[in-house]
């Protein structure tokens, strides 16, 4: 990941209608950063296979090593698997509204 910023990226999560901003350090997933910040994002397999932790991307960009937990339509609709997902640059906003 050449040129990746080393400082934590700010990510906004909208969970049950509330906005939270968390810092996701380099090398951490959105899920682990959210749990570390005391937020609850539902998860199960934590390897990107089951789809439980998916959130919809409203803006910004994310990358994920594995997206088997999403169907093609869900990828198209911009879902991100938090357990394997990381922000790509600033401005990532994810929501639990399906």
């Amino acid at each position: 990941m050449d040129g990746a910023e080393s400082r934590p990226e700010q990510v906004t999560l909208i969970l049950e209608g509330e906005r939270h901003t968390i810092a996701v350090p380099e090398g951490e997933t959105i899920l682990s950063a959210a749990l570390g910040a005391g937020l609850y994002v539902e998860s199960s397999c934590e390897v990107g296979d089951c789809g439980t932790c998916k959130l919809r991307r409203l803006s910004g960009a994310a990358e994920q090593d594995n997206d088997m937990g999403l169907t093609d339509e869900e990828v198209e609709a911009g879902y991100v698997l938090c357990c394997v997902g990381r922000p790509q640059g600033p401005g990532l906003v994810l929501s639990d509204e399906r």
């Binding site: 199960s44 397999c45 296979d49 088997m68």
Partner: protein, 383 residues
């Protein structure tokens, strides 16, 4: 408490209990029933405190290898990782055409039965059983046999003497799948099924014993159809009270997803599953010592008025968030994508084929009478 009337309409009984005694000890099960959404969530989200490895499953007479559903991490994680890749939403979506064809071919046979039949025997039983048989690679003609054994195996969740009957059936199912697994391994004929995946994984050095694979196949034979069979049965019961919805399901198959979500909330086929406390813990105002058994009731949580408005109403458009029909946390249902695919295909197909289908009021509905399942042994219908 767990009489036939309870099993037909569990949420009616839960309603009053939740108000007066939301944490409620049931002697026959030696377990605390939990009826509030927040309490059930507390348990499912904390697998360290609430273990799935109940000492009840380890008796000298019935000792078997652990399965993912009866173990904690790291064993749970190791076993689940073996099967998880086969159950991703992406891979399951590829089965849609084959599952649709199977469904239509069973409905062709159902049509030949005339205008009254038992839906469980004719359709909701065989359909998911054949799907899971094909997925595992076991011969599809064997399904009546493993359906019979699986129906007995769930008795293990009842008090004695049924518990022993259930445990014995569980061993019989392990032996059935174990024989199949050995035959496959010896013949070396591997294909595109889960059993072949297991054998390949083991050869490639995955850490799992023969006993664990046997128990895993046997778990799939049970978990993979009893539940989906009852999701279909329960959907038919929900729709029976709602003529407008029946018409909508026929006219608009796209509403199947919302329908299945609401059936899972309103009449989900899994009532709950046991956990065992590893330390003293408070649930609401009740303090439970280490070594207590709890039974978080998913269905009761799904009808909690603190969580859902008018929970006793079946609302197609509700799209309930956070319903617990597939559980929550690390043990959340592995088969969720498959179960949804099957139900979203089967329910509209059934009503397209038989738009006038109604529950036969001249015959009693026979419920499955075990504390972890809400469903039907017999559901007679008229078409």
């Amino acid at each position: 408490m767990f009489d036939r009337q309870f099993h037909l309409e569990p949420f009616v009984r839960f309603e009053e209990l939740r108000r007066h005694r939301p944490v409620f000890y049931v002697e026959a099960l030696d377990a605390w029933l939990l009826l509030r959404h927040d309490h059930v969530k507390q348990v499912l989200q904390d697998p360290r405190t609430f273990s799935s490895d109940d000492p009840r499953w380890h008796t000298e007479e019935f000792e078997t290898a652990p399965t993912m559903i009866t173990s904690d991490d790291p064993t749970h994680r190791r076993l689940r990782a073996l099967a998880q890749p086969a159950f991703t939403p992406r891979r399951i979506a590829k089965l849609a055409t084959a599952v649709e064809e199977l469904c239509e071919s069973i409905l062709d046979e159902v049509e030949a039965r005339g205008d009254r039949f038992d839906l469980v025997e004719a359709f909701s039983g065989p359909f998911p059983a054949i799907v899971i048989a094909e997925l595992l690679g076991v011969p599809r003609e064997d399904y009546p046999r493993f359906r019979r054994i699986a129906a007995q195996a769930v008795l293990a969740t009842r008090p004695e003497p049924e518990r022993s009957v259930g445990m014995r059936a569980g061993q019989e199912l392990n032996a059935y799948y174990g024989a199949f697994l050995r035959e496959r391994r010896e013949s070396g004929e591997l294909g595109d099924d889960l059993t072949s995946d297991f054998i390949r994984a083991q050869r490639d050095g995955a850490e799992c014993s023969d006993g664990e694979l046997e128990a895993m196949g046997s778990l799939f034979l049970i978990a993979g159809h009893e539940t989906t069979t009852n999701l279909i049965n329960n959907a038919v019961r929900c729709l029976d009270d709602a003529p407008k919805l029946r018409a909508k399901v026929v006219a608009d198959p796209d509403c199947a997803r919302d329908l299945v979500t609401e059936v899972l909330r309103y009449r989900g086929p899994v009532l709950g599953n046991f956990r065992f406390t590893t330390r003293t813990v408070e649930i609401g105002e009740t303090v439970l010592p280490a070594g207590s058994r709890v039974l978080p009731m998913l269905m009761a949580a799904n009808h909690d008025p603190n969580e859902y408005e008018a929970p006793g109403e079946f609302q197609l458009e509700r799209r309930a968030k956070g319903h617990l029909g597939f559980g929550r946390g690390i043990h959340r249902c592995l088969g969720e994508p498959l179960a949804k695919l099957e139900a979203e295909i089967a329910i509209p197909a059934l009503y397209r084929r038989f738009p006038e289908l109604r529950v036969d009021t001249e015959r009693d509905i026979l419920p499955v009478e075990v504390p972890v399942i809400h469903g039907c042994r017999e559901l007679h219908v008229r078409v």
